[in-house]
Amino acid sequence: MAVIRKSEIEKRLSLPVDDRKSLVITPLLEEAEVLGENSDCDAVDLRLGTYFLLPQVPPQPFFFPSQTFAKSSHFRVHVPLGRYLVVPAHQTVLGCTLEFLKLPDDFSGQILTKSSIARTFMVIETAPWIHPSYRGSLTLEIANVSNTPLLLYPGRFIGQLILLRLSPSDEEEKVRKLSGTYLGPVYPETPKFKDPQEDLRRIGVPESEFKDPGTRWWRDAAEIEAGGHTHPSKASRKKDAEKRARSKRRSLSSRKRS
């Protein structure tokens, strides 16, 4: 793997989008500065976008990485250019780059926190690797690890994109189709999980051995998504009690039959 130079980046930016080797970074504001002679020869500076997902305090005492929970774990805010977002000390927020990227199929990429930002103890990425052919704005897992609240101004440079060439392959690379999971996001998107027992079942962990955090929380999350209660309602507690009573009756009657 070799780090790609600015001159190669410029060449790739000028290829038509249907060329597998083309690179897209748009909008490239202040292009002369970003790609010019005075900029770094091996990186492109990227700006912070205007949409954020703020973590919500979950209704349960933990984050359960499943399909339903992931959707209800954040709320979206828009911070137009000129305004700022305060990230309190030791807090996190999901943001994204202002630029939309399309990587060529022979490049991987990596996004790093800009050094000036990093020196304020703001970290922008914990999953910095970008696969070949990726397209979309980059979701940034922003964390303020300092002891001071920090302000984020959308539109300012926040990260650096480093591109790396894949080692050549002996075989002709097949044209890969677009993946539907995070297809061309332009906003930060919530994580998309499968339910953990489904993932674990695939590697031979039987459901009976899977420890879930309690079905009550699962149902509550479903209620939240449906615009329902954030805490177990009286009605749901009553339903639980009825269910328990029914199953008790059923087991009693089956014992009688036997």
């Binding site: 000028s14 989008v17 909008p27 504001l29 911070v79 399309k102 332009v186």
Partner: protein, 467 residues
């Protein structure tokens, strides 16, 4: 015995509490959610008017209420203030729901930017609110502006901001792009009322004078009815044509999508007779599409549109041959005139509008040339799931103009979505769900591209320019 002073004080306090509870909603607007500047202006105005009303109410009750007549007159005044606030109450919540996450902000700005290019309308801006109807609407000045100004007159408060239009959109289309192209028509209503209505009315009167020469002098009531009906119909046509001049054929396609008019392309007329009726306030859809076609041909969009393989284009193409079947379903047409003659009057004005409107929007043709050169590249970007705010044509990077983006995005929606699905892992172009989700992505990319173009322009690059 009634204590009049006590009654007025009691009623003033009740109204004070009501106004306070209404404007508290505006006070809750801090950093988030964010509103467009014109929505903020509307909310600030309501808040200011509320504060002024409260000040007015504080000193309103006085000793004079001992007199029954004075008390009655004061209570009437209170009633007027209350009804003014009830009116604002209706739209405040709808405006608060329409923050920048829940309106197509970049599209609204793009259309507004186009309107502001016109010297007479350079200060026009729009507050968008959510409506529970599946339709787009413009609040006529009488609905909120005049009511707010009447209220301001009583409480000696501030007047409604000038050149601030109020536009409603269906709440379900919050972050959509395609149907929201219809906002251009509603903005056209505001432009019409601010600038163009006098010219159009003069033309209608001229046509009615010609009609009188044909059928004899009409009585005053007939003239008023005819004038009003023609005014309603022609305002709609004006706004359609104005929208086309602003954003091109995408407006026609959005109207076809909203009205479900694709049926017109291949159904017997009897099955789609709802598209042939002229109603009290709206001309028949088929007549609207015919005027669209006339304008598209006049401006030069039509050869580009004909290349799009879609039933939406067919609707426009067949509209010319089908307008003979229209009928009037309103009782406001004078009997002596008859429907046929009245329709002739309508068509005379419609044809005049096809010439008049582009004269008012001198840049109406500007985007056609760029569209011709850039739309293939933009559509290819969409097929590749890429935001087309920069496209490469002949080895040069180009930033398309928002109008070009809007029309290329609609073109891709009409004929390209299956190609995007084919390009996706496990993409099934026969699946309705897959098509819907691909269209949703397309809308998202189109709005992002329009937003990017605004940023690029602000950052100094030129639309359509090379980088």
């Amino acid at each position: 015995m009634t204590n009049f002073s006590e009654t007025v004080q009691q009623e003033s306090a009740a109204l004070y509490r009501f106004v306070d509870s209404v404007i508290r909603r505006c006070a809750e607007v801090h950093e988030y959610p964010v509103f467009t500047p014109s929505s903020e202006e509307f909310l600030k105005h309501v808040k200011k008017l509320g504060t002024e009303t409260k000040e007015f109410l504080k000193v309103f009750p006085s000793s004079t209420e001992r007199d029954k007549d004075t008390a009655r007159s004061k209570r009437r005044k209170l009633n007027s203030v209350r009804s003014g606030w009830e009116n604002l109450h209706e739209y405040l919540q709808a405006a608060l729901a329409a923050d920048t996450l829940h309106v197509p902000t970049s599209l609204i700005f793009a259309i507004q930017d186009q309107i502001n290019r016109l010297e007479d309308l350079k200060d026009l801006r729009f507050t968008v609110f959510h409506s529970d109807q599946v339709n787009y609407l413009q609040l006529p000045p009488g609905t909120v502006k005049e009511a707010a100004d009447e209220l301001a007159y009583i409480v000696k408060g501030s007047k409604f901001p000038l050149s601030l239009g109020l536009i409603g959109m269906p709440y379900s289309q919050a972050d959509g792009f395609l149907l929201n192209c219809l906002l251009a028509h509603e903005m056209g209503h505001v432009a019409y009322q601010e600038v163009y209505s006098a010219d159009v009315t003069t033309e209608i009167e001229r046509v009615l004078e010609a009609l009188e020469k044909e059928v004899g002098i009409l009585d005053d009531q007939d003239i008023t009815l005819s004038l009003d009906t023609l005014k309603y119909w022609t305002e709609e046509i004006f706004c359609d044509l104005f929208a086309i001049c602003l954003i091109g054929p995408a407006y026609s396609f959005a109207l076809i999508e909203l009205t479900g008019a694709t049926l017109l392309a291949d159904s017997p007329d009897a099955d789609v007779d709802m598209f042939y009726s002229f109603m009290d306030y709206h001309p028949a859809e088929i007549a609207r599409f015919h005027t669209h076609l006339m304008l598209h041909k006049k401006l030069g969009w039509w050869p580009e549109m004909e290349k799009i393989s879609s039933s939406y284009v067919e609707v426009l193409a067949v509209s010319a041959s089908k307008t003979a079947n229209v009928r009037i379903e309103t009782t406001t047409i004078p009997k002596d005139v008859g429907d046929e003659r009245f329709l002739k009057c309508f068509w005379r004005i419609a044809r005049w509008l096809v010439k008049f409107v582009p004269r008012q929007v001198p840049f109406a043709r500007d985007a056609i040339q760029s569209y011709r050169h850039q739309s293939d590249a933009i559509c290819e970007s969409f097929r590749q799931a890429v935001v087309p705010s920069t496209v490469v044509i002949g080895g040069r990077r180009v930033h398309p103009d928002p109008v070009v983006l809007i029309n290329a995005a609609f073109r891709f929606y009409l004929e390209g979505v299956p190609k995007l699905i084919d390009n996706m892992e496990q993409g099934d172009r026969t699946s309705v769900e897959a098509r819907s989700s691909a269209a949703e992505r397309l809308e998202m990319w189109a709005l992002k591209a329009i937003e990017d173009c605004r940023l690029i322009r602000r950052a100094g690059a030129q639309y359509g320019g090379h980088t």
